[in-house]
Symmetry: C2
Subunit: 194 residues, 2 copies
């Protein structure tokens, strides 16, 4: 239960990461300063360096934390037996997670911090998320790499367009189920034809 990487809960470093998310939510992922973060935490700015050796290290912890949050949400789902229904429930949760926090979505899925690359340790969490996605897609019959790429691009497009043009709304994201059917039907049609 208490491993080397589970520092997000309870510890001071975890509290700092939480405050960093709060700040990022209001001023953007790249728009908060360590001074403002320290103020939020209730300590002085240089004290942050007792927990993170640089701002990039903090971003790295946030990247890992965000992916861990998403993984927990996905693994907590109770999926229906029907693969198509399961895929819809799964992706609906995925999209909901992405839409509820723009800053988190950007850091995790787009990496808009110049010069920041997640460490291999943090990247492992992102790979776990991707493993879950690919597994649900596979069960639903999306196995070909091209089909996987197209489906993921479709979902990313709904998220991206929604966040860019109407954050908080559902004008684009509400088409997820309909487009999921469209892609699945096409794959099944093609597999029958061969």
């Amino acid at each position: 239960m208490s491993g080397e990487q589970v520092r997000t809960q309870g510890s001071r470093a975890g509290e700092i990461v939480g405050c960093a998310w709060d700040l990022a939510r209001t001023v953007g992922i790249a728009g908060f300063s360590l001074r403002a973060l320290a103020r939020e935490v209730g300590i002085r700015q240089p004290s942050l360096y007792a927990h993170f050796e640089s701002k990039h290290a903090l971003y790295d912890a946030m990247f890992a934390d965000g992916n861990r949050q998403l993984l927990a949400r996905l693994d907590a789902l109770v999926l229906p037996d029907d693969p198509r229904a399961a895929l819809k429930v799964f992706m609906r949760e995925f999209v909901a997670f992405a839409l509820e926090d723009t800053a988190r979505c950007y850091l995790i899925f787009q990496r808009p911090i110049p010069g920041f690359e997640p460490s291999t340790s943090a990247y492992g969490h992102a790979e776990q998320v991707m493993d879950r996605v690919v597994e649900v897609l596979r069960v639903a019959g999306i196995e070909d790499q091209d089909d996987i790429d197209c489906f993921i691009a479709m979902v990313a497009g709904l998220i991206h367009t929604q966040l860019s043009n109407e954050p908080g709304g559902d004008r684009w994201s509400r088409h997820l189920e309909r487009l999921t059917d469209l892609y699945l039907d096409d794959i099944h049609r093609r597999s029958r034809a061969s």
Copy 2:
């Protein structure tokens, strides 16, 4: 031919915008400073204020300029008579434009500058681009607002996923024609069914 808004060609302000694009291409749209920009232009940093009253005003000029570039590219196309083929040629050019300059794509389509909102004048160019897109979609039979939204999200997803994961490649963007067929076939199938 010479209007109040055509300052991108010839004038000093246009030269500055061009240098700003060059810089943005290497250090990101939000990553260049006015000092670096002035160095690129060959003047001193305060001299920039003789042409733009603030950095946001410069971003505004870049936003208008980028949309004008895109509009020129789209209007220069010779489209096939067949609406489906025309849509493919048109969107292929659109995607190519987006992929060839990440910084430009971000500024025009995603607005990643905190606090920057394009002026109504600059936004007019973006609306002209959107008008062209909607017209080509309409001719191809995509008229329902939901269908338009889905199609645009699909294209945005290809662009976004391509740029985020493999800039310079075509792993995702190469599926544009196939997905265009998928969407068009679905719309025609539904219209026959009604």
